[in-house]
Symmetry: D2
Subunit: 339 residues, 4 copies
């Protein structure tokens, strides 16, 4: 294509919207032209996010198809249920759509409907491609509509999928003990994200009933126990994943399997020393390390990523790069902010 | 006994020492008479811990048996290896000893020696009582030497022991994913407790090789997978514990088992809503909640306590109260500091 | 009096209400009988504050005079404007009232009305005693209605008042750069107390227009520049206060003035080393230290307290103790939680 | 010049060294060739800073002039006293030197020697240019040796200098109440940067005796009261600055003065709403806002920057860009990480 990609963000005032802007401002081919909101029309995005002001100013507006259809790519950052209203008309208008919500993540709509709500756009869902580049790159290239994976889901899938596909494990033994920073819960006001509910605190939530569990199970083809926890930090997911193998093995063998799987991937790194949250926060990298403990048949995987980058907006831009034939790492190579 | 309990703290400058002072200042029968140090002799404890100054001032001194043997009770807050040097002479002098370290926690010295180092006081070890009041109250009452349990160990044992003793579970399926605040790592300077290594961070450490694992296994009589994590907070442990049961059950059944076990315990509470760290930090309570997930055979237990209180100094005072025939809750009823 | 003090808390679900309960549970003469709410009637306070559950359970109810007038003492924890509706009828019913809000803090109602709103109970305001024990103990003893001071105000007044009363200072040179933890902003949901607005952040607010400024000016009888800041912590105020003196002096002279003023006060400590937030958080102590810098005429005072304790609920209980002829420190001696 | 700038970092294992690497990896003209250390020779920088590993690996070595003199530019990140040993030989070898320490910041060596230590390289000091681009751009362009300003100094100078140069103020009234994140204190182990000394805490330090005070005074040509504080966060400085003016004015007038001064500056923004720490952390921007309070003669300036970026490594790269004739913003435009 000639010229920059004309980009819109539907629901730009949430954290994934602001993160898209932050990333795209350093993306040489991106031209952010259109930002929508339901609640803050008329305001400048820089009033809501002052960190943007030194470089970026743009008015928020209410979504209108007539404006959106002139764009090349649209990122939808809306609660589930809303994307399936907008995506069909955008796709039909020839706009490439990357949906950061859950509406198009499930191949089996019965699971979607059991987990979320009635699905009103099954036809467009059938065209959607699940945007996990490490496994679906070829289809993403040709996709009109991307279902960007969930944050926990990305962390868990990248670590677990090569294991369940290459090793025999005890059925029912897959346990994902996942810990996330607060930005995963969004910017809307809720008692449980009040500063004083979170600071110096740590808690579980939705044990065994979190909506990301069936998405993980779809991706790896096996049932899991999923236990999410809320960390008193702004960003990042660290998942500690337990797998009981049928046969004894050692850490080096697992390292080999993972390294082989991801050796050419730009944003997955297999490391020997377990990653920490700060190794990845602010970056699009997912770091994974395996450890065999006990008698040799118990595997522990540690997987870390930034929920707003590789877990959401960074992966969305990675998908955009693939869809538009750009180098996949464009705009996405910055490292974590540390210390 | 007539008069207050004359108390010494050996190794008073660490966090468990300061926490003992904080607790004992509100204990009507306690008279803190003797504080020792190896590195800060001559200083006042209030110079090291200014929060004590409004109510407490006392010089630190080097340990001498001649002084210590005049006391009624001595708390030892030293690294492992050091307690077994001091405890025998104190016990022989008739002083009641509560050791907050690991030296006397193991009935089977082979496990101690494999986990820590050579044991030099096997005879006195044979007299030691493991200071978990919920299970050893009668022996604690008569004990001369208490081995105060580890912090992670208390959180894990209180939750798991009634389960493994009352329900059939899949061997090898016990997984303890435990998260601790930084005070568990002590006050000594280490790169990994530098503010900038911990703040906004979260990490695993010693996966499968932490020294509390054999202590938990001793307590519950079964092998476990133990994965400790470092939380970016000052205090508190929250352990998420996974048990695969042989038969399906429901949450209410597990609640009943736990409630029956602890119905008369002053410091263990079984709760329906999973506890968070802030429910317990600053208090001597351990809160435990069970949830059955998935098909009905997967149990998740959440256990929370303050590592410096019920996980160390509070439990030590609880043991002292039992040893001296005082009401067990004396000085220990304060609630968590919240928000 | 015979028997315990029968206590009610009007507006018990806010942080000052919960803090009153936390303190009063360790107060031997307190009997909490009545907790009111406008929004959560029928709920147990332990559902809102799970940290209370191990020791305390009580249903919240809507305020009714018929119930409240049977009490000995009532703490009002309501937004300004509401106390002046309730206080008159309670005082007239013979209930001792301690109002933690601003409605009765001003002797000159014109200042109140300029700062807050129209005052509807000027007669009862005339009977109110400003509850700063260090300066008004005699009147508090006989008071029917206490206006408990503001949190910033207590920190600033205790440090500044002895200085302005004993030394000549440059008019207009009094600057209070005050920093507060988030609990000062209350529990209601606001964008600026969302975890992600505060964590890793630090900000000024209401520069020169904060409502505590005229209250400080009333107390010390001089105008001040007041600049509040929001610290990314749960509790505590640290105020750095600048005074330009007419004559050169030294730190020892200032120490003497302050020590003389507060030598018999149970909850004010003059210290040589500047206090930090953690020296006081969780306690009812206010720590103050002076430093003379530069050419000898510039004084810097550092004043620290816990905004919810000496800055609100602890001071309120201190006032109650004085009103009921109890030892002033009853229930209030606990030290800061540290680390 | 042809080709990339060959760059060395002397003392690369500290936070300013790691931050230089983070910035320079996104700088199209930078080629990091040489990293030195005194303590960790032979290690890879990625072992010390795992966040670098996904993109960067380089062995640390001991400093040798023979290696360093082949470089185009050297950043010195050493404690004061060490730079003046190395800088002369590097400058004489034709290497452009940017010193992030204090050794060459003072025109009057008597002040340096009073504040720091004896100066051993007065001749080279005479050639050094103070690297504050907003005021010394022309000299920086021709400089062989840059003295990069202190972090607090940059925040204070950028806000105060236009005021003291354009308005009459009361002598002795300039007060800088500055708050810094912990990274300003460096990576070396110290009790006061232990996680548990800082977390939930806030404190003053070096009131009136901090070494940045004379540097600020040199820059603005007036004496100041300087009070540094330690914030419980990783990065960022927010300075609240008080100026008593001789004549009454209003906020708009001050805004005009500041905007006029900095209208063409790429990294200084004058804003109406006071900046917060998170508006700048991770970026090279300094945000400044003025407020006139009280009767109209009291000015409060709020100045915020990231101590490791505009306060150290970012400003150092900005200086490098100017010295090498590159666009001044190269590699430095990234925005703050938020939330």
């Amino acid at each position: 294509m000639s010229g920059k990609i004309k980009i819109g963000i539907i629901g730009a005032t949430g954290y994934t919207g602001a993160e898209l802007i932050r990333i795209l401002l350093d993306h040489a081919q991106a031209d952010i032209q259109y930002l929508t909101t339901t609640s803050a029309a008329g305001q400048d995005i820089g009033e809501i996010y002052p960190f943007l002001r030194p470089r970026f100013s743009q008015k928020l507006t209410k979504y209108e198809l007539s404006a959106a259809q002139k764009l090349d790519a649209v990122f939808i950052c809306l609660p589930h249920g809303r994307s399936m209203e907008l995506a069909p008309e955008l796709v039909n208008a020839g706009v490439k759509v990357i949906d950061l919500g859950a509406d198009f993540r499930f191949r089996d709509l019965a699971i979607y409907e059991k987990t979320y709500q009635k699905h009103t756009a099954p036809e467009i869902n059938a065209q959607a491609v699940y945007g996990l580049p490490e496994y679906n790159r070829a289809q993403i290239k040709k996709a009109k509509l991307i279902a960007n994976p969930g944050c926990y889901v990305t962390a868990a899938t990248l670590a677990l999928k090569p294991i369940v596909e290459n090793l025999a494990f005890v059925e029912g033994s897959l346990i994902i003990d996942a810990k996330s920073g607060v930005s995963g819960a969004g910017r809307a006001l809720r008692q449980d994200t009040h500063f004083l509910e979170v600071y110096t605190n740590f808690s579980t939530y939705k044990l065994g009933v979190h909506r990301h569990q069936p998405e993980i199970e779809q991706n790896i083809g096996a049932s899991v126990v999923f236990a999410p926890h809320l960390l008193p930090v702004n960003r990042g997911i660290l998942a500690t994943i337990y797998v009981k193998l049928h046969e004894k093995t050692n850490t080096d063998n697992i390292l080999s399997i993972l390294q082989k799987q991801y050796q050419n991937e730009p944003f997955v790194r297999i490391v020997e020393k377990a990653p920490t949250l700060k190794d990845v926060v602010g970056s699009n990298y997912c770091l994974i390390s395996p450890t065999i403990v006990g008698d040799g048949s118990q595997l522990i995987l540690v997987s870390a990523l930034d929920n707003l980058v590789k877990g959401a907006s960074g992966q969305a831009v990675q998908n955009m790069n693939i869809m538009f034939g750009l180098p996949e790492t464009t705009g996405l190579e910055r490292l974590a902010l540390n210390p």
